[in-house]
């Protein structure tokens, strides 16, 4: 990985975060999906805990297989999302880098990343006998409509009532607006940092961003998160000023679509470095930049803009929107090609990808490749197959120099 001084800070932040979550006696714990409106929780002093984030950590630490096997032994099929299986296993074994997650007092789930999370959280809700609040964000086949926004706003206001009932204190709207401002500021820094990869050579690669997105997922809405991304942004900007490349001799610049292959980060990095290829931009890391557009002008505008943000993640949008966005990234980041990860564990990202690849290549004239893999399950990954496909893809690209 590209060496950043900020990395140490991030480790410290995440260690503190997990430590507090594991040891708190006063604050309620909510398990929450990565696309759920966390700002409501921070406003009420509730600690959000992210099973997805934890599952990724388990895989990056090469612990996912044993945990998934524990879940599979309880009857969970290998067909279901490997994040869910890893977390079920971590819960059964109290395993993984933090020895399991602290038990939840309630669950908050949004359908903007998939419908699978409903099923996943239903299993948890039943196991722990805790309430589950779902913010339903229907798929945007044809973009946003006033009805979709009203639908979501109405649920967000109901979430406030739920939190007030749960905590026994009124929803703190003033604090909520402060949290939103912090969330927006952090997302702004995150996006500004990601956009620095438009520079040639790129000062970082996308595998770095996968590592550094921990705080924007888990701590979005806190001062620490803003401070961290300010620090990271400044460090990356300095690399740009000094023309420091993430991959020395950068020849190819590519996009990565879908989640990372968490258990193969190091190997893939070495592979790409060897081939003078920088992963410059990803739809996945960019998703958390989408929370930088909250309006804080009036109460109505606030709710509307929060609803829009949470309705609009890339994978909750129709294919026309996706192709337009991907083509725009290819253009703005001066890319030479794109990689799509057909991820067995993530159907919303992956189903339809073969068609998207065809159309995107046609529209942009850039070559693309699809690799068959899984975000968390090493048993669904073949080094030889992936490398052969990537090598052929790299040969098909025209380099930047």
């Amino acid at each position: 990985m590209t060496e950043f001084a900020a990395f140490k800070k991030m480790k410290e932040l995440l260690t503190n975060y997990y430590f507090e979550a594991k040891t708190t006696q006063e604050k309620p714990i909510a398990w929450i999906t990565s696309g759920a409106p966390v700002e409501f929780l921070y406003a009420m002093d509730i600690i959000p805990v992210y099973p997805e984030n934890y599952a990724a950590m388990c895989a990056a630490n090469h612990q996912s297989i044993e945990l998934m096997e524990a879940a599979e032994a309880e009857g969970f099929s290998q067909d279901i999302c490997a994040y869910a299986r890893t977390d079920f296993g971590a819960d059964i074994r109290q395993g993984g880098p933090a020895a399991g997650l602290p038990p939840p007092h309630f669950l908050l789930c949004s359908t903007n990343i998939c419908k699978t999370v409903i099923k996943w959280y239903e299993v948890i809700a039943r196991k722990y006998d805790v309430p589950l609040f779902i913010v339903d964000t229907p798929f945007l086949h044809d973009g946003l409509t006033p009805e979709l926004i009203d639908y979501t706003v109405s649920q967000l206001k109901d979430l406030e009532n739920f939190l007030a009932d749960f905590t026994g204190k009124p929803f703190d709207r003033e604090r909520f607006i402060e949290v939103l401002a912090l969330s927006r500021e952090a997302a702004d820094y995150w996006l500004k940092m990601l956009n620095l990869a438009k520079n040639i050579p790129s000062p970082f690669n996308s595998l770095d961003t996968f590592i550094h997105l921990g705080p924007i997922v888990t701590l979005r809405g806190t001062r620490e998160c803003v401070d961290y991304y300010k620090l990271l942004y400044e460090e990356v900007a300095e690399r740009v000023a000094n023309k420091l490349a993430s991959v020395p001799g950068e020849k190819y610049r590519v996009l990565w679509d879908n989640l990372p292959v968490w258990f193969k980060m190091r190997d893939l990095e070495k592979f790409f470095e060897k081939h003078k290829t920088t992963l410059v931009v990803t739809t996945y890391a960019n998703s958390w930049g989408g929370y930088g557009s909250y309006s804080l002008d009036s109460i109505d505008e606030i709710y509307k803009s929060v609803a829009i943000s949470y309705l609009s993640p890339y994978i909750n949008t129709g294919f026309e929107e996706r192709i337009k966005y991907l083509a725009q990234l290819i253009d703005e980041f001066s890319l030479t090609g794109f990689i799509m990860h057909s991820n067995r564990s993530c159907k919303p990202y992956s189903v339809g990808m073969y068609r998207l690849q065809e159309e995107l290549s046609k529209r942009t004239g850039k070559p693309g490749v699809i690799i068959e893999a899984d975000q968390n399950d090493p048993r669904a990954y073949s080094d030889a197959q992936v490398e052969t496909r990537l090598e052929a893809f790299i040969e098909s690209m025209t380099g930047i120099n």
Partner: protein, 370 residues
Amino acid sequence: MFKPFHDVVTSVSRTILEHEKNLGRPVIGVMPAYFPMELIWAAGGYPVQLWGNNLPLEKSDAYLQAYCCSVARSVLELEMRGLAPMVKAYAFTSLCDTLINLREIYRRIFAKPTIELSIPITRTVAARQGYLRSVVQSAVENLEKITGKKITPETLSEAAQLYGRTRALQRALYQIRRENPGVMKNHDFYTAMKTGFFLPADVYNQMLEDLLKGLQTRPVPEGKRPKLLLSGMVFDPLEIYAIFDELGADIVDDDFANGWRTVSKENLQVDNLTDGITEFLFNPAPCCCIYNPDNDRHPYLLNKVKESGADGVLFWYIKFCEPDAFDRPQLMKRLKQEGTPVAFADLELSMSNFDAIKTRISAFCEILEG
């Protein structure tokens, strides 16, 4: 007695083409699950339900990965092979991630229009009502564009009667099966159910009425035979029911999305269509694809076992169906705790070798026989 049903199921295309010609209504292919046929009929369409098929998957691999369920893959295969020329448009619901994206694929590779009934699963009742109202309105408008005809209170009422009658007759068939295990072969029963996917409702209703009359005097096999309840999304492949028949096992009830979960729905209330469709989607039988904690699958299934007198439950798992797969372990555990034997079989619609499944069913039946 069941021959007319078998004839339909073995010649689906010809059957649909004949009725399309007679009716002069455009055929609308209905994807899984819970899109009210009533809306399509009321708009002047002829709905046919597509729950997958057993075509070898050759062309659909170009667009759907092997980790998508065989329902989605085989339905796409049908259209890609050009085997559904009579289908003029497709109706979807937002049942699962695969079907949501499948609609996007259809929109990009085929010229046929698609419509979607997005199912809002929020617990915020006012939000759900408001959004569903707009969803229904949009579905109605899009259907009217496809058929060129308006839905009127009269056509809607007629459609509600027609399809309500279908489900009432199907419920009567379920009741006969439940009360008289073995009175009809399992294979015949599900063939009769499947027939309803393809026929105009009035034609199908007449066939069911004739069948129900004929069944009244039918003898029931003697001796103790294992009684099963099946649970899953899709009751295909039909071939497997011949295995139950061969083994002398009786399916006395089911919890299939295209079986009892749909059949149990009362007449669609059309006075307030939003409320009517809400009721239609969420009740009375719970489904793994529709979040509804007010209607918990655990007590529901336990009660169903009790009421049907089933000796055990076989979970009928079409591979890669995540909603079904997530629910199963806890459901199986609960049933076991309550003393109900359980087993599961994983299946693909395109499977052609049934030896392994036969062994599994046979072993489970032996357990049930004690």
